[in-house]
């Protein structure tokens, strides 16, 4: 066995009230893709920030190529050959790709040289990117390529990637993986952080699992099932949502040639969507982000008004009704964006309960809010969905993403809907919480409600859906029974009218 590229030994970092990393030791070898696994709050971010020089450990050592490595700041880490691609990009929309890359350099060469080097690297690693385009017009995947190329220009020995695929389409994921494999072949080590276990199984050579700041295990992801890895992360037997057999009832929501123009410049028009949803079923709607998901949710929730007869609820046309009139009927929704859409960040959880639950929970009498009752309702949601917060007087902003998601979904489920529309219900939520949310959706269906679940997570959709349809450029494919759908069939449905290569999903 050769010497490791980076050796971590006994890294410990404590913050007031919480030990983020406790005696973390493992090795990363040159030319391997090493996965770092763990639930939200397991200490992954602190660990990679330590490696990247953003956090100083309380104790413990690192060595790079056998030489002690203590980066005081990211610049030192970069100089030593460690590069990092963050989950959130730091790019200026109004500037070109080349200008953005120049901004990140210590001594930038002339823009023309940068553009040439960008072209070189992008060809060499199969990352299509035009250095002269403005960043504002790029997709999330292309923006990520800017960040990756920015790192590659430094010729790194170790590349850290934090949740790189959460914003990518399946096609872009395939391209990214090719690039990472090429880098590995050239001897670059990659530390890869992700929630998506199937990706890790497809890509990584080694995995280290963190739980509550400690290393709880290592495994070879190629020979370990996703379920085993998830259980290692959670530390208990993972509860897999159970679909109970249930009779499918009458049609409750019918979309009849739903057409709607794009609500804004970057929106997607809905075209001719026809659909029937029955009581007691879960309809899964897949599709790559930006193909009309937000618009479909807005049309269903009542935020976007459409032709009256385009949406029918138990035979009544409701396309012109607003959100609260629809809530009164029993049609509830939980949009994708938690902060600022499903919840108001600076308001308390009690106030956020009032936001959507006033109509059905009778939280107001003659327009006057019954704050006591609102508070009890918020408390009930917190209890039922295990939302980790000191209490309903805390602001939504103070909750972690996963916890707020539990609150937002729980708030709708606790209102006992007849139809629930959810968009990305478990986005950014850790494995055990995601399982709880999915189970709650299934329970809702068992009790006779219809659930429309829009998601980009195909595993999730396959797990809970009875029928599956795909959105593509604002059109919806005909729903098909989810049981027995193969990956190829799903890929074709997702591809729709696109003349693209079929999404490559290893499942």
């Amino acid at each position: 066995m050769t010497d490791p590229l980076l050796r971590l030994s006994g890294l410990t970092k404590a913050y007031p009230g919480v030990v983020a990393n406790k005696d973390v030791s493992f090795d990363i070898m040159g030319g391997e893709i090493h996965a770092l696994l763990g639930e939200n709050g397991a200490g992954k971010s602190t660990l990679v920030k330590t490696i990247y020089g953003l956090v100083k450990p309380d104790s413990g050592q690192m060595s790079l190529h056998g030489i002690p490595f203590q980066p005081a700041e990211p610049r030192a880490a970069r100089a030593a050959g460690v590069a990092m691609v963050f989950q959130h990009f730091s790019l200026f929309d109004a500037m070109t790709v080349a200008e953005n890359i120049a901004l990140g350099m210590e001594k930038p060469p002339p823009l023309r040289d940068i553009a040439a080097r960008v072209r070189n690297v992008s060809e060499q690693y199969g990352l299509p990117l035009d250095p002269d385009r403005t960043v504002g017009g790029l997709s999330a995947g292309e923006r990520q390529r800017v960040e990756i190329i920015r790192c590659l220009l430094q010729d790194p020995k170790l590349l850290i990637m934090d949740e790189p695929t959460s914003v990518l389409t399946p096609q872009e994921v395939a391209i990214l993986f090719e690039t990472l494999r090429k880098l590995r072949a050239e001897g670059t080590a990659i530390l890869y952080i992700s929630h998506k276990l199937e990706e890790i199984r497809a890509l990584c050579d080694n995995a280290t699992v963190l739980r509550l700041g400690e290393v709880v295990g290592t495994c070879d992801p190629r020979n370990t099932s996703a379920r085993d890895m998830a259980e290692l992360m959670v530390g208990s037997v993972l509860h897999v949502p159970q679909k109970a057999a249930r009779p499918v009832g009458e049609i409750i929501v019918r979309l009849d040639a739903l057409n709607a123009p794009a609500p804004h410049q970057f929106g997607t028009a809905l075209r001719d969507i026809s659909l029937e949803v029955r009581k007691g079923e879960v309809l899964g709607i897949g599709g790559v982000a930006g193909n009309g998901q937000d618009e479909l949710v807005a049309a269903l929730s009542g935020e976007m008004r459409v032709g009256a007869a385009m949406i029918q609820y138990q035979g009544t046309p409701i396309g012109k009704l607003g959100p609260n009139a629809r809530r009164k009927l029993g049609l509830l929704a939980a949009p994708e964006e938690r902060m600022g859409h499903a919840a108001a960040p600076d308001m308390t959880l009690t106030e956020n309960a009032v936001m959507t639950a006033t109509t059905r929970q009778h939280l107001a009498r003659k327009g006057f809010v019954h704050w006591g009752r609102a508070r009890s309702f918020a408390e009930a949601v917190i209890r039922a969905f295990d939302v980790r917060t000191p209490g309903p007087q805390n602001t939504a902003r103070s909750l972690s993403g996963g916890n707020l998601q539990k609150f937002v979904i729980g708030r709708e489920i606790m209102q006992d809907p007849d139809v629930l529309v959810v968009n990305q219900p478990t986005w950014g939520v850790d494995a055990s919480a995601a399982a709880a949310i999915r189970q709650a959706l299934l329970d809702l269906a068992v009790n006779g409600a219809a659930v429309i679940c829009i998601s980009q997570d195909l595993d999730e959709l396959m797990e809970i859906s009875d029928r599956f349809a795909a959105l593509n450029e604002g059109r919806l494919s005909a729903p098909r029974p989810a049981a027995g759908l193969t990956v190829e069939q799903i890929g074709l449905m997702l591809g729709g009218a696109h003349d693209m290569e079929v999404a490559h999903v290893d499942a």
């Binding site: 959100p323 499903a342 006057f368």
Partner: protein, 360 residues
């Protein structure tokens, strides 16, 4: 190195403490300013902040406090609804003028008839006039997406011209020997907004302002409309999801602020000012914007801020006449007050950290 760290929750302590800190900082730097002007800073600060309340002539100044404070509070409360919802009505001065013109016109139309119904009709007309004037930017915004800040501000100048034309034309006192200005409403019992208790400064406008403060407090904290106003300001998308119709909210907030500004104008023209004249407006509509923010858009805060602002106005006048301080210095000090308030506001949402360079 000083670093700002966002607090998970706005600090309750600093929400209350920042206005006080801003006043103290204003006194300190205002004092330096007065010192630089060759005045005794302590005497000047005392003249401005304390003399209106405690000097031997306080019997005259205290009623003035109510007379000056009431329109500020009335207008600022109206504005605070819009400001909380992210609707920026900057033209309260114009709505104040139009409210005064409409209210006065109704009163003058009945002259010299005496009836108990005249004053209530004038109040109605004043509120309606201000409301309609504010609806112009409101409707333009909803229908055509125009910027309500610009339109409402521009309409102030239109209103000023309208005021001049009324004072010189339609509403001019026929018995006034050609002088500009209307009949004096204060001398027309059915239309006069007189002091309710002699020598107290307490007129119907003051009473209305106090009622409006209570009404606003209850609406914002208990009523679903107040909740929707706050929600719209913080997260417009979440508000739409909660079922708020943004266009309707704009119209309601513009209409409400316009109506209250119009009311303030009516109470002023029928009482302290007495007549429609070319120089009737003195900037209450603009100062009320400062009052609204100084009071943190909170009804009780606005009440206190209105009182403080009225105090600096009256104190400023005393300082001008007794100490020979220029008006510009007083205005500079009032500007400082707003500046410091906004500056120390950072402490409410951020924590100041003193960090050493190495551990960044």
């Amino acid at each position: 190195m000083i670093m700002l760290e966002k607090r998970p929750q706005p600090s309750r302590f600093w929400v209350l403490a920042t206005p006080a800190l801003a006043v103290v900082l204003t006194m300190f730097f205002g004092g330096l300013l007065f010192l630089a002007l060759g005045k005794n800073p302590f005497e000047t600060i005392r003249t401005i902040f304390l003399d209106p309340l405690f000097s031997e002539f306080a019997w005259y100044y205290r009623p003035q406090l109510l007379i000056k404070g009431a329109p500020l509070v009335l207008i600022a409360i109206g504005l605070s609804f819009g400001f909380r919802a992210g609707i920026w009505n900057i033209g309260a001065e114009g709505q104040y003028i139009v409210g005064a013109i409409c209210g006065a016109a109704v009163g003058l139309a009945f002259y010299p008839l005496e009836s108990f119904i005249i004053f209530p009709l004038m109040i109605l007309a004043g509120a309606l006039g201000g409301m309609l004037w504010a609806m112009i930017p409101g409707i333009l915004r909803v229908k055509f997406g125009t910027n309500e800040i610009l339109v409402s501000l521009m309409l102030v100048y239109v209103a000023e011209q309208l005021l001049a034309s009324m004072a010189l034309g339609a509403l001019r006192n026929p018995d006034g020997m050609g002088f500009p200005g209307s009949r004096n409403l204060a001398q027309y019992p059915s239309a006069a907004n007189l002091e309710l208790i002699s020598g107290s400064g307490m007129h119907w406008g003051v009473v209305t302002a106090l009622i409006v403060v209570i009404f606003a407090y209850v609406t914002l904290s208990r009523h679903i409309f107040g909740f929707h106003v706050r929600l719209s300001g913080q997260s417009p998308r979440a508000a739409r999801f909660a079922g708020v119709n943004p266009g309707r909210l704009i119209l309601i907030c513009m209409g409400l602020s316009g109506a209250l500004a119009g009311l303030a104008g009516l109470f002023e023209v029928a009482g302290p000012a007495g007549q429609v004249s070319i120089d009737f407006n003195v900037g209450y509509g603009f100062t009320a914007i400062i009052v609204a923010f100084l009071g943190r858009l909170h009804p009780v805060g606005i009440l206190l801020a209105g009182a403080l602002m009225a105090l600096t106005y009256i104190g400023g006048e005393i300082a001008q006449s007794n100490l020979g301080l220029p008006l510009a210095a007083i205005q500079l000090m009032q500007g400082m007050l707003l500046f410091f308030l906004l500056a120390v506001d950072v402490l409410t949402n951020y924590r100041v950290r003193f960090a050493t360079g190495a551990a960044a």
